[in-house]
């Protein structure tokens, strides 16, 4: 029974991390490195938790919808100015946003500051997580091959040329930024109602780095790559934990080390991520 419970939570985290990796992918697939998603996740998590704690009758679907909506709404006025920035400047600005959100919650007495909210009723089930994941995958998958999907690829390849093809690059980038925010918000709410708690320390820079690492390791050339990356990097440390412990590694540093080392190997030798292994296999 204990064993099953342990695996159940691992599987749940595969799903949640998959959603988060997809939320980073949403902007990455049009060439924008945005690192605001830990902030959006926090907003979604707090929104969901507050609704559940203060309005008990609200169905969970509505809670999740609110957790998607609020980050999405905030993403519009944020994205409009910030998405004009290129490359590392966008990354830096969005890191700044994420930290501001975290500091906001640290200083907000209503949500107990740095301690956060506890005893949130558990309302997330495995099937809720995987339904949300399937929904996000379906949306992003259907985007490919569509008019908008081609526009996004064009923007990723050469934004200036895309503009002279008549593509409204700002609108497309903004739409994906908002979509990413919504997905991150849902993931945040799902996690909050799974682990019973939210605290600002869970939404720091390290969290968005995890999302990015998973998306890149899985590969952003295919829409399902980030989910593969998330699954791989969530499960692997657990699988190797025994071996790591035998070598004298504590679980925390061990997971961190694996994350970093695998990311390095992937970016150097498999620029298109783990999914390119699948492709190669199929081509051969």
């Amino acid at each position: 029974m204990d064993l099953f419970l342990a695996y159940q939570s691992l599987i749940a985290f595969v799903g949640i991390n998959g959603l988060l990796a997809l939320s980073v992918y949403a902007t990455l697939c049009c060439g924008q490195l945005s690192l605001a998603n830990a902030g959006f996740m926090a907003i979604g998590a707090y929104t969901g938790a507050l609704i559940t704690q203060h309005a008990r009758g609200v169905p969970f679907v509505a809670v999740l919808a609110a957790s998607a909506l609020l980050p999405a709404i905030i993403a519009v006025p944020l994205g409009l100015p910030v998405l004009r920035l290129r490359g590392v400047f966008l990354a830096i600005a969005t890191i700044g946003f994420g930290e501001m959100v975290r500091l906001f919650f640290v200083n907000w007495d209503y949500t107990n500051g740095a301690l956060g909210l506890v005893a949130i009723p558990q309302r997330t089930h495995l099937w809720t997580i995987f339904l949300a994941l399937a929904g996000a995958l379906y949306l992003l998958g259907r985007l490919r091959g569509s008019r908008a999907g081609y526009a996004l690829e064009a923007i990723r390849e050469d934004e200036t040329a895309a503009r002279t093809m008549g593509i409204d690059t700002t609108a497309h980038k903004l739409a994906m930024f908002v979509l990413g925010a919504a997905i991150a918000g849902v993931a945040g709410a799902l996690e909050a109602h799974l682990t019973f708690m939210v605290a600002p320390s869970g939404y720091g820079f390290g969290r968005v780095v995890d999302m990015l690492v998973q998306a890149v390791v899985g590969g952003t050339a295919a829409f399902f790559g980030p989910v593969i990356g998330a699954a791989f990097l969530t499960v692997l440390p657990e699988v190797l934990r025994e071996a790591g412990a035998r070598l004298g590694f504590a679980p925390g540093p061990f997971r961190l080390f694996l994350n970093g080392a695998i990311l390095l190997v992937v970016i150097l030798f498999l620029p298109n991520g783990l999914v390119s292994l699948l492709r190669r296999r199929r081509a051969a």
């Binding site: 490195l33 100015p81 910030v82 920035l85 490359g87 590392v88 400047f89 990354a91 830096i92 600005a93 890191i95 700044g96 946003f97 930290e99 501001m100 500091l103 640290v106 200083n107 200036t160 720091g204 820079f205 390290g206 780095v209 990015l212 690492v213 890149v216 590694f249 504590a250 925390g252 540093p253 061990f254 961190l256 080390f257 994350n259 970093g260 080392a261 990311l263 390095l264 970016i267 150097l268 620029p271």
Partner: protein, 292 residues
């Protein structure tokens, strides 16, 4: 007032020293080296080991720790940056690979030293207070300010006057042109990393001494401050980073005095945001690249 200003200059000198190294690599490679904070942290731990376990005096431990940081920089360049050179998206993939190296460094520190705060043994540095006008400062604080300023002056001299400095500037301007002029670009980039990481390491040691606390995540908060500084100063601009470092230190101290300490960190992000949106080039940054 005078006391606040002194504190601001003190914090600012560390920010500036950290950011100068950050911005040097950005100026040369156009890559944000997100492992800079990990080098900062490891150098602090190295100094701690040398003082606490090897019982070296601080004046000997510090240069050794700085040298160690410089060597880490060279390692970093070899493993995370050189293999990516020439790739189309190298400024994004370089950012990611430096993140990977930073994570590995952090994991190593976490494994060796644990997540808790470590401290220098008592009496590593004599505590003595010195009064300047109406303000008082510890001898340590003054030494830190002096060391930072001297190091930044040395860097400026090195860039302006030496052959290596000219070569670094040439590579920053255009690697291709520099290569045609006979500059060994790979070697110059490695040297820039050595210098950048040494300065970051020195900032780490000074920071650890100043607050007498080191943990594997000390670099994280300084990293974010450093980002604000290099944005404010203009990416790639060394004088910009120096000025902006001191400016941020002063802004922070006066914000805390005026609005309370919960706003200390928020202010650097506010600065970062406003500058990015209003003047993305920063105070002293170069013009934007051509479009088509």
């Amino acid at each position: 007032m005078g006391q606040q200003a002194l504190n601001g200059v003190f914090v600012g000198s560390i920010y500036a020293l950290f950011a100068v190294g950050y911005t040097l690599v950005f100026g040369v490679l156009d890559i944000l080296n997100l492992a800079h904070q990990a080098v900062f942290m490891l150098a602090a731990f190295a100094a701690l080991l040398l003082v606490a376990d090897a019982h070296l005096p601080l004046w000997a431990a510090m240069p050794l720790a700085v040298l160690f940081a410089g060597l880490l920089g060279i390692l970093l360049e070899r493993l995370a940056f050189r293999p990516l050179r020439g790739r189309a998206d190298s400024n994004i993939s370089g950012l990611i690979s430096s993140l990977a190296m930073g994570t590995v460094f952090e994991a190593i520190a976490l494994q060796i030293f644990g997540p808790d705060t470590s401290r220098f043994p008592h009496g590593t540095f004599p505590d003595r207070l010195i009064r300047i006008g109406g303000a008082s400062a510890s001898l340590l604080q003054l030494c830190i300010i002096a060391i930072s300023v001297v190091l930044m002056a040395l860097l400026t001299l090195l860039l302006a006057r030496t052959r290596l400095g000219r070569q670094i500037r040439a590579v920053a301007e255009s690697p291709r042109a520099a290569r045609i002029l006979g500059v060994n670009v790979d070697r110059v980039i490695a040297a820039a990393f050595f210098i950048s990481s040494s300065l970051g390491g020195a900032a780490g040691v000074l920071f650890a001494l100043a607050f007498n606390s080191i943990s594997p995540d000390v670099g994280r908060s300084v990293e974010l401050k450093g980002l604000a500084v290099i944005i404010l100063g203009g990416m790639g601009s060394i004088p910009g980073a120096v000025i902006a470092g001191f400016a941020l230190g002063l802004i922070e101290v006066f914000t805390v005095a005026g609005f309370g300490s919960s706003y200390r960190d928020a202010v650097s992000f506010a600065v970062l945001f406003v500058v990015l949106l209003a003047r993305p080039r920063g105070l002293l940054g170069q013009a934007a690249a051509r479009e088509a």
